[in-house]
C-alpha cells in the first residue's frame, strides 16, 4: 500500500481526498445495506385487507435520503474541485523547470536554466531539491505515454505534438519510483523512472557534477564507444548529441539502468550491453556485436563515468 503514502503537496491533498471519498462511499454502502437489510427482515404487520391507505411515514424517508445524499454529493464535488484546483499548479513559482521527453521505453530529462550554459541533459533519473516545487514540461518523442510518480505527482499524459505540464515537490529526501502509466508498447511495463529528492546542498553538488564534462581520452573502451555507441548515445564532452538513446553522461551516478529495470552494477551493465533484447525484448537498443574484449573495454569505460 506504499502508493497511498505521499510525500509532496502535489499529491498529499489528493490522498486525503481519496481516503475521504472512499470513507464516504463505504459509509453510503453501509447505510444503504443496513436499510436494505432492515427492509428485508422487518416484521410485517398483518394485512389489513385490501384497503389502500396513505403510508404516513414513507415520503419523509425520501426527503431525508435525498437531502442527505445531495448535501454529501455536493460536498464531495466541491471538495474534489477545490483539491484539483489546488494541486493543478505549484504554490509558488518554481525555481526549477525540467523538460521530460518520453520515448519508447525511456525518459530523457533536460534541466533548463536561465543561464543557457547551465542547461544539461540526463536520462531516466530526476533529482529535485527537497521542499521546492519543480515544474515539469512533458513532451513525447513518439507515442502517448504517461508521467506518474505515485508518491509525488499524479498521472499526466505525455502526448506527441503538445507540451503538457505537471509539477513535483518532495517534502522529504529520498528515492521515489515513477512509472509510465499509459500503454505505449511492448516494454511499457519496464518504463520506470527514479526521482531522487536531495537536500539543497546535495542537489547543487549533483547539478555541478552533471554539468562537468568528461575529458577526451584515447582508451580502448572509449574507441569502442565512439565506433559502436556514439551514433545513439551522448557523453558530455566526449561525444555530443547522440539523441536516439539515453544520454549516458555520468552514468555511474545513476541508480538504475534501462529505465529502472536493472540495478546499476557492472555485471548488469555488461549483460545489458551484450544483449538488451534478452532483458527487455522489443526495446529499441539493438543487440551489439562486440567481442569479449570490446565488451569488457567499453563496460569498464562506462563504469568510470561518475
Amino acid at each position: 500500500m506504499a502508493y497511498h503514502q505521499t510525500f509532496g503537496p502535489a499529491v498529499d491533498r489528493i490522498t486525503s481526498l481519496g481516503w475521504g471519498l472512499a470513507i464516504v462511499s463505504m459509509l453510503v454502502v453501509a447505510i444503504i445495506s443496513l436499510l436494505l437489510l432492515v427492509g428485508i427482515f422487518r416484521k410485517r404487520g398483518h394485512s389489513q385487507g385490501l384497503a389502500v391507505r396513505s403510508d404516513a411515514g414513507g415520503v419523509s424517508w425520501i426527503y431525508v435520503g435525498t437531502g442527505i445524499s445531495t448535501v454529501v454529493l455536493v460536498g464531495c464535488m466541491l471538495w474534489t474541485m477545490v483539491v484539483t484546483a489546488a494541486v493543478s499548479r505549484p504554490p509558488k513559482t518554481p525555481a526549477l523547470t525540467i523538460e521530460v521527453t518520453a520515448s519508447q521505453f525511456w525518459w530523457s530529462v533536460r534541466y533548463e536554466s536561465a543561464t543557457t550554459a547551465r542547461s544539461f541533459i540526463t536520462a531516466n533519473e530526476i533529482h529535485i531539491p527537497v521542499g521546492e516545487p519543480v515544474r515539469v514540461e512533458l513532451k513525447s518523442a513518439d507515442v502517448i505515454h504517461s508521467f506518474w510518480i505515485p508518491q509525488l505527482a499524479g498521472k499526466m499524459d505525455v502526448i506527441p505534438g503538445q507540451t503538457n505540464m505537471s509539477w513535483l515537490e518532495a517534502d522529504k529526501a529520498g528515492h521515489y519510483r515513477g512509472q509510465c502509466a499509459a500503454f505505449c508498447g511492448a516494454q511499457h511495463a519496464h518504463m520506470a523512472l527514479l526521482v531522487v529528492a536531495d537536500s539543497a546542498s546535495a542537489f547543487a553538488a549533483w547539478q555541478e557534477s552533471q554539468l562537468s564534462e568528461m575529458s577526451l581520452g584515447n582508451g580502448e573502451g572509449q574507441k569502442v564507444f565512439q565506433t559502436h555507441c556514439a551514433v545513439c548515445h551522448t557523453i558530455r564532452g566526449v561525444s555530443p548529441e547522440g539523441i536516439r538513446g539515453p544520454d549516458l553522461s555520468h552514468l555511474k551516478t545513476r541508480g538504475t539502468l534501462a529505465a529502472g529495470l536493472l540495478m546499476n552494477t557492472p555485471a548488469n551493465l555488461a549483460a545489458w550491453i551484450a544483449n538488451p533484447q534478452s532483458f527487455k525484448p522489443g526495446t529499441r537498443m539493438p543487440a551489439q556485436i562486440l567481442s569479449g574484449a570490446e565488451l569488457t573495454a567499453v563496460t569498464s569505460y562506462l563504469n568510470t563515468l561518475d
Binding site: 519508447q104 505505449c184 508498447g185 559502436h228 551514433v231 545513439c232 536516439r244 522489443g282 526495446t283 539493438p286
Partner: protein, 183 residues
C-alpha cells in the same frame, strides 16, 4: 441453446487471446517481429561482389539475396525513423532526392540498386562521402533502412539482378523541372 460454462470459458479466453494478438500486431509501438527465416548470413552478404568477378562472367547468386523486410510496412516506417535519426536525411534529403549525397529515388545506382548492394553500401560506406555504418547499426537496422529506400521506388528487385547488371532496363524521362542527375 444452452452452452456449458466450460465452453463459454474456452471461447472467451480464445477470443481474448486473439484480440490481444491482433492488437499487438496492429499497434505501431512494438518492435518489428524478426523475419521467420532470420537475416542473411554475414558471409553470404560478403560474397556479393562490388564489381565483376575476374575470370568469370554471368550471374552471381549472392546478388539475389532478398531483403527479409521487403514490403513490411512496420519495417519501412522504422527505416524512415532511422533515416532521419542517423542523419541520412541530411545528405540524401528528407524526400530522398539527394543534395550532398545522390538521389535515392531515381533508377541510377553507382554501386548497384539491388537490396544486397544497397545493404553493402550502407554497411561498408563508399568513397566520396558515404560513411560506414556496419559498426554502429546491427543488420536488422540496416535491412530496415534498405526497406525504406526500396519504398522510394527507384531500386531494383532482387530477382531482377541479372537484368540490373546487364542494363536490360528501361531508362527514364526526366521532366524539365526535376533536378538533373548527379552521379
Amino acid at each position: 441453446m444452452k452452452i456449458s460454462l466450460q465452453t463459454r470459458f474456452a471461447v472467451g479466453i480464445t477470443l481474448g487471446l486473439l484480440f490481444t494478438d491482433a492488437c499487438s500486431r496492429s499497434e505501431g509501438g512494438s518492435a518489428t517481429t524478426p523475419p521467420a527465416r532470420g537475416f542473411p548470413a554475414v558471409n553470404a552478404i560478403a560474397a556479393a561482389p562490388l564489381g565483376q568477378v575476374a575470370g568469370a562472367s554471368g550471374n552471381v547468386a549472392a546478388l539475389s539475396i532478398a531483403n527479409p523486410f521487403e514490403g513490411n510496412p512496420q519495417a519501412i516506417e522504422q527505416g524512415k525513423q532511422l533515416y532521419i535519426k542517423m542523419n541520412c536525411a541530411g545528405c540524401h534529403a528528407y524526400n530522398g532526392k539527394g543534395n550532398m549525397g545522390p538521389d535515392l529515388t531515381d533508377t541510377y545506382w553507382r554501386y548497384g540498386g539491388l537490396p544486397v548492394e544497397i545493404y553493402k553500401s550502407i554497411e561498408e560506406g563508399r568513397p566520396q562521402g558515404m560513411p560506414s555504418w556496419g559498426a554502429a547499426l546491427p543488420p536488422e537496422d540496416i535491412w530496415k533502412l534498405v526497406a525504406y529506400i526500396e519504398s522510394f521506388g527507384g531500386s531494383v528487385s532482387a530477382k531482377d539482378y541479372e537484368h540490373a547488371r546487364q542494363g536490360d532496363q528501361p531508362g527514364e524521362q526526366i521532366a524539365p523541372e526535376v533536378l538533373e542527375q548527379r552521379p
